[in-house]
C-alpha cells in the first residue's frame, strides 16, 4: 500500500499540520512516511500545500506530481490539483468555500461542508481536523484512533484543553463520508 496525497489551501487554514499529523500517525503505525511542505513566499498568506506519502515500503521521491488523493480547502487548490489526481483517485474538498466543484468522472469526489461545520462547532480553526476526519474515513490510510494519538503527541501540553474540540471535529468530518 502506498498513498500519495496533496493537502492544499490558503496559508493559515492548517493545511501543513493536516499532512504532518497524518505522517505522524503513519509513523506510529510503523509505516514509512514522508512530508514535504511548499515553503517560501507562498507560505506568507498565499496558497500553501504539502505532499504526504504513507507507504508499507521505502518511499522513493518525496516530490511527486500525480496523487492518489487531493485534499483541497480553497478554489485555487481544486483548480490546480484536480487534473493531477490519478484515474481512480479521490478528491476531498471543502464545499462551503469551493463554489466551482471538481467535475471529473473517473475519480471519487467527496464534498465536505468543512467551514460550515467548523462554524457550527464555534471554532473555525478546527476546519483542518474536520477535513482530516473525512480523509481518514474515506481512505482508511491510518486508524482514526492513531490520528488522535498523533495530535496528543504533537500538541504541546498547554494546548491539551483543545483536544476534545479537535476530537469532536475529527468525528464530525468522519460522519460526512459514507462509503
Amino acid at each position: 500500500m502506498t498513498e500519495e496525497i496533496i493537502f492544499a489551501g490558503f496559508g493559515g487554514q492548517g493545511v501543513l499540520s493536516m499532512g504532518q499529523m497524518l505522517a505522524y500517525a503513519g509513523m506510529i503505525e510503523n509505516k514509512e512516511v514522508c512530508w514535504m511542505p511548499s515553503y517560501g513566499p507562498e507560505m506568507r498568506g498565499g496558497t500553501a500545500n504539502c505532499i504526504t506519502i504513507i507507504s508499507d515500503k521505502m518511499i522513493s521521491s518525496p516530490i511527486i506530481s500525480r496523487f492518489d488523493t487531493a485534499v483541497a480547502l480553497n478554489q485555487p487548490s481544486v483548480d490546480k490539483f484536480e487534473s493531477r489526481v490519478k484515474p481512480g483517485g479521490t478528491i476531498i474538498y471543502d464545499s462551503t468555500n469551493i463554489l466551482t466543484p471538481p467535475t471529473r468522472t473517473d475519480i471519487t469526489i467527496y464534498a465536505v461542508p468543512g467551514s460550515e461545520e467548523a462554524n457550527n462547532l464555534k471554532n473555525l480553526k478546527v476546519l483542518n481536523m474536520i477535513i482530516l476526519g473525512a480523509f481518514v474515513q474515506a481512505r482508511k490510510t491510518v486508524e482514526p484512533a492513531t490520528v488522535m494519538k498523533a495530535l496528543t503527541s504533537v500538541l504541546p501540553e498547554r494546548y491539551h484543553h483543545l483536544l476534545p474540540i479537535n476530537q469532536k471535529a475529527f468525528e464530525v468530518g468522519m460522519s460526512h463520508i459514507h462509503n
Binding site: Q20, Y24, C34, W35, I63
Partner: protein, 356 residues
C-alpha cells in the same frame, strides 16, 4: 534500536550534531537552513553545554570554526549556497592547516542571491574545490532525513580520521521535509585533545603551531604532497554508493541526493512499463565511485544522469565511463524540481526513441 522521531531534515541534522558530542556551532542564518540555528539555540546548550554562536557573517563563522578546530574541538557550521560561497577562503585555509570540521550546505537555487528553493548547482563548488589551491573536501550527499543524521556522525569520524574538512552537500527540500528517523544515542563530548591542538605549551614539549602559510616552495610542496596522499587514501577506502536493480539493468539512472530520490521514482514507473532500469547513487561525491561506473558502463545501453543543475556530476560520470557507454543528462535549474514523469518522458524520447 535508537529513538524514532518524525523530523525535518534541518532539525535532524541539528539533533545529530548535539548527539555526536559536537563542542561548538558557529553560523549565520539563511533560508532554507535557518531551522538549524533555531533548533540548536533552543536545545543544545542545556543538554550538552555545546557552544552555539550566531556570528556576524559567514566569513566570521568559518574563521571561528578554523580557530575552534585548531584548539582540537569538534565543530560544525551550516549555511546555504551564497553563505557557503563566503566561506570558501576559510575552507581552503582549514584544508591547508589540516583541521577537522564538518559543514553542511543546504543548497538553494543560484547563481547569485538566487532563490530559496532547492537546487544542486553547488556540486562543482563542493567537489572540485570552491576555494583556491589543490585541496579537496570529503563530500557526503544525503538523500533522506535519516542520512542527515547518519552523515553528521560519519562526517565527524571522517574529518577526524583525515584531519580535514568534510562537507554534507544537501538541499532545501531535504532540509525542509519530514521523515521518520532513528537517532543514535547521545555520545559524550570529547575530553582529550589531539597533540597538534593549540591549547598552550606543555612542559617539556615543543610549541604547537597551526598555519596555512608556507613561504618556502619546498615546504609548500611537501604540504601539498601530504594532502594529495590523504586524498589518494580517501579514493581507495572511502568511496560509498547505493545501487538498485543492477542485475538485469539495460539502462542506468543516476543522480545524488534529492535528484536520486526522484530518479528512483522514475525508475519505478519505468520498470512498470517494462524498461530494465537500474540505479546508481553516489553517496560520497568526493571520492567519486569511479570504478563502479567504469565496470557498469560496458554492460548497459545508456546512463541517464539527472541533477537539479545544468549538468555538473555528469562530467564525473563521463570521465568514469571513458566512452564505454552513452551518457545522457537531464536537469532543471533555478529551484525547479524535475518530476519523475518528465524524467521518464525524456528517457523514452532521447534514449529509447532516439537509439543510435
Amino acid at each position: 534500536m535508537g529513538e524514532i522521531k518524525l523530523m525535518k531534515g534541518n532539525e535532524a541534522l541539528s539533533e545529530a550534531m548535539i548527539r555526536a558530542g559536537c563542542d561548538a556551532y558557529f553560523g549565520y542564518p539563511i533560508t532554507p537552513q535557518s531551522e538549524v540555528l533555531e533548533y540548536l539555540a533552543r536545545e543544545a546548550t542545556n543538554r550538552t553545554g555545546m557552544v552555539i554562536l550566531q556570528a556576524e557573517s559567514e566569513v566570521a563563522a568559518i574563521n571561528m570554526i578554523y580557530g575552534a578546530a585548531g584548539c582540537g574541538k569538534r565543530v560544525m557550521t551550516t549555511s546555504s549556497s551564497p553563505g557557503i560561497s563566503l566561506m570558501q577562503e576559510g575552507l581552503s585555509y582549514i584544508a591547508s592547516a589540516e583541521l577537522p570540521c564538518v559543514l553542511a550546505n543546504v543548497n538553494r537555487g543560484g547563481p547569485g542571491l538566487g532563490t530559496i528553493q532547492p537546487a544542486q548547482g553547488d556540486y562543482n563548488q563542493a567537489v572540485k574545490g570552491g576555494g583556491h589551491g589543490d585541496y579537496q573536501l570529503l563530500v557526503l550527499a544525503p538523500c533522506s532525513v535519516q542520512e542527515m543524521v547518519d552523515f553528521v556522525k560519519l562526517g565527524f569520524e571522517l574529518a577526524e580520521k583525515y584531519r580535514g574538512p568534510v562537507m554534507i552537500l544537501t538541499d532545501g527540500a531535504i532540509g525542509q521535509m519530514m521523515e521518520k528517523v532513528e537517532l543514535f544515542d547521545q555520545m559524550p563530548r570529547k575530553t582529550d585533545v589531539p597533540d597538534w591542538a593549540t591549547t598552550g605549551r606543555k612542559k617539556g614539549q615543543d610549541r604547537t603551531y597551526i598555519t596555512s602559510l608556507f613561504i618556502e616552495p619546498e615546504v609548500m610542496e611537501k604540504v601539498n604532497l601530504k594532502l594529495q596522499a590523504k586524498y589518494k587514501q580517501m579514493r581507495e577506502t572511502e568511496v560509498r554508493y547505493q545501487t538498485l536493480n543492477l542485475d538485469d539493468a539495460e539502462y542506468i539512472f543516476t543522480g545524488y541526493g534529492l535528484g536520486a530520490r526522484i530518479c528512483m521514482k522514475a525508475m519505478e514507473i519505468g520498470r512498470e512499463k517494462g524498461y530494465k532500469i537500474g540505479m546508481i547513487r553516489p553517496i560520497t561525491l568526493f571520492p567519486f565511485p569511479v570504478d563502479l561506473y567504469a565496470s557498469i558502463a560496458p554492460k548497459v545501453k545508456a546512463i541517464l544522469d539527472v541533477e537539479l543543475n545544468a549538468g555538473q556530476m555528469v562530467q564525473d560520470v563521463i570521465l568514469s565511463t571513458m566512452g564505454k557507454t552513452r551518457v545522457e543528462f537531464y536537469g532543471r535549474m533555478g529551484g525547479i524540481i524535475p518530476e519523475p514523469e518528465e524524467i521518464l518522458e525524456y528517457f523514452e524520447k532521447q534514449i529509447i526513441g532516439g537509439a543510435k
